[in-house]
Amino acid sequence: MEMRDKLRKWREDNHRNSEQIVDVGEELINEHASKLGDDIWIIYEQVMIAALDCSRDDLAWTCLQELKRQFPGSQRVKRLAGMRLEALEKYEDASKQYDSILQDDPTNTAARKRKISILKAQGKSAEAIRELNEYLEQFVGDQEAWHELSELYINEHDYGKAAFCLEELMMTNPHNHLYCEQYAEVKYTQGGLENLELSRKYFAQALKLNNRNMRALFGLYMSASHIAASPKVNATVKKANVKYATWATNQINRAYQLAGRGTKENKCSVKAVEEMLESITMS
């Protein structure tokens, strides 16, 4: 039953490859339902969410019916019903559905988060931000929510608040280089000497956590050269930053050389990178 194992692996890793899940899951449900035993319910849930992603409403409806039959009063099933209404763009009904779940159980985080995503889908980002803030006041530990909030703020160009959210994420996941890198990018976008310094440091941290993060390497180069070029810095700072920038350049060159190891296309791209770097460098 390697199909079942595949589905389980995707479920545990939180993969969102909905088309594959729908293919595998549909076959599994139609042909091997009896052999699955109790696993079938969780497979129904997984396939239903994937079907909603692929607009396969027929499949989603069958899964939902089966689940409703088996678990009539369940909160989890109600949430799935709400998600289906969302997929059909019946946002009012979906919202009412989630409200009824919350009446029964005010600590149900899933329903709250779906309500916020309805607002986001309707484009009401200001309201979504407000609701998400309220949600986070209650549930300070929800990392998914912090990340979502930082994205919303970046879209609204409110970089200060986005930085705050990313700081929360960095604290809870100190070894995740991606959060460091996103934080550094936000600081770089904010601009200003202090923020550029901070961004340089965080790009360096991201690189330290993961030596192969090319974005962070380029970011390091950009922030260091920016600081070096700024008229307000004194000579020592400038020298230090030029040193950082040249180091970054060397690493970038090394990386690009490793990339192709002498193939013809690669020689061109290496040259292109060198020229680009020279053009950005201001001495």
Binding site: T107, E168, M170, P174, L198, K201, Q205, N211
Partner: protein, 256 residues
Amino acid sequence: MAEPELLLDSNIRLWVVLPIVFITFLVGVIRHYVSILLQSDKKLTLEQVSDSQVLIRSRILRENGKYIPKQSFLMRKFYFNNQEDGFFKNTKRKVVPPSPMTDPSMLTDMMKGNVTNVLPMILIGGWINWTFSGFVTTKVPFPLTLRFKPMLQQGIELLSLDASWVSSASWYFLNVFGLRSMYSLILGQDNGADQSRIMQEQMSGAAMAMPADTNKAFKAEWEALELTDHQWALENIEEELMSRELDLDGMFNSKH
């Protein structure tokens, strides 16, 4: 004292020792499943969830604060600990310690716990005592004083018998405690058959009132946070990073 070694009938081993182990184990497993069936749902209030998460956040701030800039750390510390409107200073939760007598749900929980655990133990202990009485079951490997005799040699009326020889009832009790580790092996941690843990909980439960903990927990966090200082981990990061070349191994191999 030197005494002739008693040779026990091997039938005893077969028909007494092993059945008692068996019975104890099965009763334990049954107890576990019964306790699962009888378990009442614990409903958490929104406030409790929220509070527990806030405590976690504050702890993370203390532990990992060194990864965020000094400004941000101070901002958060200020938010929590400020004299006038810091979170930990100001939030007082209404505390009603649920005394076992007044809070009905806790009362039923306690009763269920007692019934499930103590009653079977008494019943089966008595039954074993009655069934397997009149003979010596086993010998404990260490010498005991005479004071233990009436306790451990329930059905045996021999004054000269060394107190190390015990009856079946004591073997039963030995099993009850000894099979604890077997239960955690087979039923997983936190199982309902683990009696000694439950007894421990009952003893300490009387001294501990959960909701009052929140206020105390807040106070403890406040103190701990006051004491933490911000040591920025990124102080010399560029130097550390550039002291050696980046490790770019395997970056461009074909993936998946």
